[in-house]
């Protein structure tokens, strides 16, 4: 069985198509591990594989996928990590999940996440924190922490998550896997329980870059149910590059400078990876993103502002929790939201409504949207000279559970390398670049809008040269662990 688990999703799909293994056998191998897992990575696991083995002939070969809780899946709990949606089973399925099923990747389970995707540690889940498969005293990152932990621990062949300000890339980095945030609009947001609509984007969390390309290929495209989704120009090729000849990499001083608080072990891994990129033929030069230091502030105005509007829909009327339904209407609203929302969600609603309030709107929300324009301009200018911008994905490795819970600002600062790309709407990928004191470090590459194929190619060349081995996390988190 462990041999099955050690296959990448692409390799497993090939074996299934060649008739060497059955899709149902692979499904059951992962299902058993998912059910037995004690990382709290899942909020729901499927009972059985889908009846039709015809999946095996589809492009994704019947290799099942773990899906972040916030994707609506028909008849299956979809709670966005929130008590206010506990037990909610939507009557329809998100486009991304439906497309994956059509392409031959059936639903394996729903993964734990920070409540409404607000968090960088997965400790804000209404269903308990997820543990990091490399060290169970530490966080997996967030908000797609369950998806990242499941893939790293071999509880899923691959997963999809969402990234609003780093929620795919940061947990991927902290768990030692690959995470890609596509260009804004590349994948439909239809059926994703919304956090910040101008930033939310679905994307893959996978064991390697090839698997990420495969998921992306089958999830992109315009969807008539999401007017911000786009027809993706060109196709997502299977990454082939083995070197970086002719590739120009820019290292932004504003994000990687001494004042950024990047941990020494992370910096060391980053610098070693940059040196490796040079040996693969890339040219590396410092670059400027003058407004990037202000990205975090802009993000923590724009995202909460949008969230405060999006979360108004949880009113105890059409779905979800209802508290004090026999009191008057206002009491019911406020009691339901008091009980149903966790502390971080309340914090963001407060921040967002403040940023949008009359008299403060221009000073906060309006200013933040102008800063956003400047950040996008900075990237555009940088991409005239560089193919990709590179940074560490996260300033630190996985931190201890509980260590940042009392200090929301410290938790937010964790996102400063990831949010500039989100505000600019551009694609960015995190790949594991090594270990620091036994914990994974992530290396981030960001490219211009719709440069995903080139980005995946460059990441593939680097991944090959780095030769990161994530098997330890899978070996240490199988069902046999319980016997120890």
């Amino acid at each position: 069985m462990s041999e099955l688990i050690d296959l990448t999703a692409a390799a497993a799909a090939e074996r299934i198509r060649a008739g060497e293994i059955a899709a149902a056998e692979l499904f059951e191998a992962y299902r058993a591990r998912a059910v037995a897992n004690d990382l709290n990575a899942y909020t729901w696991v499927a009972d059985a594989p889908p009846p039709d083995d015809g999946y095996a002939q589809a492009p994704l070969g019947g290799v099942p996928v773990a899906v972040k809780d916030l994707f609506c899946t028909e008849g299956v709990p979809s709670q966005s990590g929130s008590k206010i949606l506990e037990g909610y089973r939507p009557p329809y399925t998100a486009t991304v999940v439906a497309k994956l099923a059509q392409a031959g990747a059936p639903l394996l389970g729903k993964t734990n996440q920070d409540e409404f995707a607000m968090g960088s540690s997965n400790e804000n889940s209404g269903f308990g924190p997820v543990l990091n498969p490399w060290d169970r005293t530490r966080v997996p990152g967030g908000s797609s922490g369950g998806s990242a932990a499941a893939v790293a621990a071999g509880l899923a062949p691959w997963a999809v998550g969402t990234d609003t300000g780093g929620s795919i890339r940061q947990p991927a980095a902290l768990c030692g896997i690959v995470g890609l945030k596509p260009t804004y609009g590349a994948c439909s947001r239809y059926g994703m329980i919304a956090f910040a609509s101008s930033l939310d984007q679905a994307g893959p969390l996978t064991r390697d870059v090839t698997d990420a390309a495969l998921i992306l290929r089958h999830t992109i495209g315009r969807d008539r149910h999401d007017s911000t989704s786009l027809e993706f120009p060109g196709e997502i090729a299977t990454p082939q590059a083995e070197d970086l000849k002719g590739i120009r990499l820019g290292v932004p001083e504003e994000l990687t400078g001494a004042e950024g608080g990047i941990e020494p072990g992370v910096r060391e891994s980053f610098e070693a990876t940059v040196a490796l990129a040079e040996r693969l033929g890339a040219s590396v030069e410092p670059c400027r993103l003058p407004h990037a230091p202000h990205a975090l502030s802009a993000y923590y105005l724009i995202a909460p502002a949008e969230a405060s509007a999006n979360l108004a829909r949880f009113d105890a009327v059409r779905y979800g929790l209802r508290v004090d339904g026999d009191a008057d209407l206002i009491t019911m609203y406020s009691r339901t939201r008091e009980v149903g929302f966790g502390a971080e969600v309340k914090r963001r609603i407060m921040l967002g409504t403040y940023a949008l309030s009359s008299g403060y709107y221009d000073a906060y929300y309006g200013t933040a949207q102008k800063v956003r324009t400047k950040i996008a301009d900075d990237f555009r200018e940088a991409f005239e000279r560089f193919d990709f911008i590179v940074t560490p994905t996260s300033p630190c490795t996985a931190f201890e559970l509980g260590s940042k819970l009392d200090d929301p600002l410290a938790m937010y600062l964790n996102d400063f390398l990831a949010v500039p790309m989100s505000l600019a709407g551009i694609p960015a990928i995190s790949i594991p670049s090594g270990l620091s004191e036994g914990l994974p470090v992530g290396f981030q590459l960001a490219g211009p809008a719709f440069s995903e194929s080139r980005l995946l190619d460059a990441a593939h060349a680097l991944e090959r040269a780095i030769g990161f081995d994530g098997s330890e996390a899978r070996a240490n988190n199988g069902p046999e662990r319980k016997a120890i």
Binding site: Y88, R89, P90, P91, Y92, T183, Y184, G185, S198, R224, S227, T228, L230, H291, H294, L296, S297, A298, Y300, L301, A316, V317, R318, Y319, G320, L321, G325, D326, A327, D328, L329, I330, T331, M332, E338, A343, K346, R347, M350, L351, Y354, A363, Y364, G366, T367, A368, Q369, K370, V371, R372, T373, K374, A376, P408, L409, Y412, L423, A424, G425, A449
Partner: protein
Amino acid sequence: MSDDEVEQMSVELSKVLDHIEKIRELDLEGVPPTSHVIDVVNALRADEPEPSLPREVILAAAPEPLNDGFGVPSPGAA
């Protein structure tokens, strides 16, 4: 929010706002605010009615369906 939450949150959010305040030091005269991050001009389609989900399917998720609709308490005397 409970009274305790209000107190704790005002401390936490003041700290966050102090950090955020820094963006007001920037000179943003004449900079247009971002309205959409990728250049897209209008996403239009024909306004044609389509079948929607059956009423009972939608009401199945409601905490208190009532007379084929969503049941809500009285807005009260206020």
